[in-house]
Symmetry: C2
Subunit: 246 residues, 2 copies
Amino acid sequence: MNFDSECRLDEGVIEREFTLNEIPGILWTPAISPAPLILMGHPGGLRTQYPRLLGRARRAAADGIATATIELPGSGERPPSADAQQARADLRRALAAGEPIDEIVDRLILPLVEQAVPEWQAALDALLALPELSGAAGYSGGPIAIGMRLALVEPRILAAGLFAGSFVPRVMFEEARQISIPLHVLLQWDDEGNDRQLALDLFDAFGSREKTLQANMGGHTGVPAFAGDDASRFFARHLMTTGREK
Amino acid sequence: MNFDSECRLDEGVIEREFTLNEIPGILWTPAISPAPLILMGHPGGLRTQYPRLLGRARRAAADGIATATIELPGSGERPPSADAQQARADLRRALAAGEPIDEIVDRLILPLVEQAVPEWQAALDALLALPELSGAAGYSGGPIAIGMRLALVEPRILAAGLFAGSFVPRVMFEEARQISIPLHVLLQWDDEGNDRQLALDLFDAFGSREKTLQANMGGHTGVPAFAGDDASRFFARHLMTTGREK
């Protein structure tokens, strides 16, 4: 992992851009270390997502939690995937026409999960080796399918905050039943791009003994500030008390 | 309103039992006044509910919020209602037999709402006249139908935290659409006594622009502590900043 830049933000937060196996990423660490880490998911495109990611990073840092994110396969400055671009175009067309999308979602999401999850795990390997990080880690955000797979296969992920979206391949509902870590699931009740019933079914399917669904009004990007606060407390509860020995 | 007893609890919280129109009630006020007030709903039976009510009162007092509750019609030391007792017996039988309950719920809940809501409003009249209370008020808990009716008809109730239960008469779904104050709705996902779909339909029906559904694992009485914390913050958000002029 190469650190490409380092900025000191206010309140002792340090922002570092890094490159790992040619994948760009960003790490934010709070003033006090060692800190637990939240991997922040996003829809792809680090530069366009940066303002929102920075907001989430600052909030976590205020709780004493570090955050990091990496670019998704095929997004931002990474080489585009012709298959994914085709699938996205097909998805837009099918949604506009009100046609079934299951097969398209499989084509779009399953390869993304297969490629991205090992990349996030490699990022965990490199990041958790830093002395600033305590070893406890969580995953927060979308794409929900990446968070689900990480929650299932990556034992260093102790808790996950998932953003309920409809783009979960049907075959992954079986995976959902096997997930056992604490989950905090956000659902935007009137999300125009989301199938609410599918999101509720998915929440029901999660095998975790501690799982919370928080549904709020508004569309996809209208998550209210207090919902972010509640999610922060979820992570503080599960990551701050479980610092592992390094 | 007659105060029958006064106890000083720790941290400056004062507990007073009162009687209003022969209805017993309890008021808890925090150390700092004037404080907003949460009316605490409960399933009936102040003495048996006391330990849980006290816990809720202490938590609210820690946020600087007063709490009060009164006995429900037909419960505790109030004269029993033969019709309500019959309806409760019918309900138990119908639930055990898996039979439809809509008509029984109407018989049980509608008269309760009609009788209880004016009593809670009279309690508000008396309580909000106290100099210790700021004038801002909320309602928290069950029976959800009482909270819904108060949220609709009582302008002094600025926010309501409702415990999603299935025992809401169908005719009250239309009322739900007319409710406009901020709502925080708790749903126990595996509540054996609850119809989950009905609770979700009810949440969808509420007309409020700010409404949050928080669903957690566990049965009827298994609400996790962090859910109580989130509900507390909901009230603090809506009642602490909206102190009215007396």
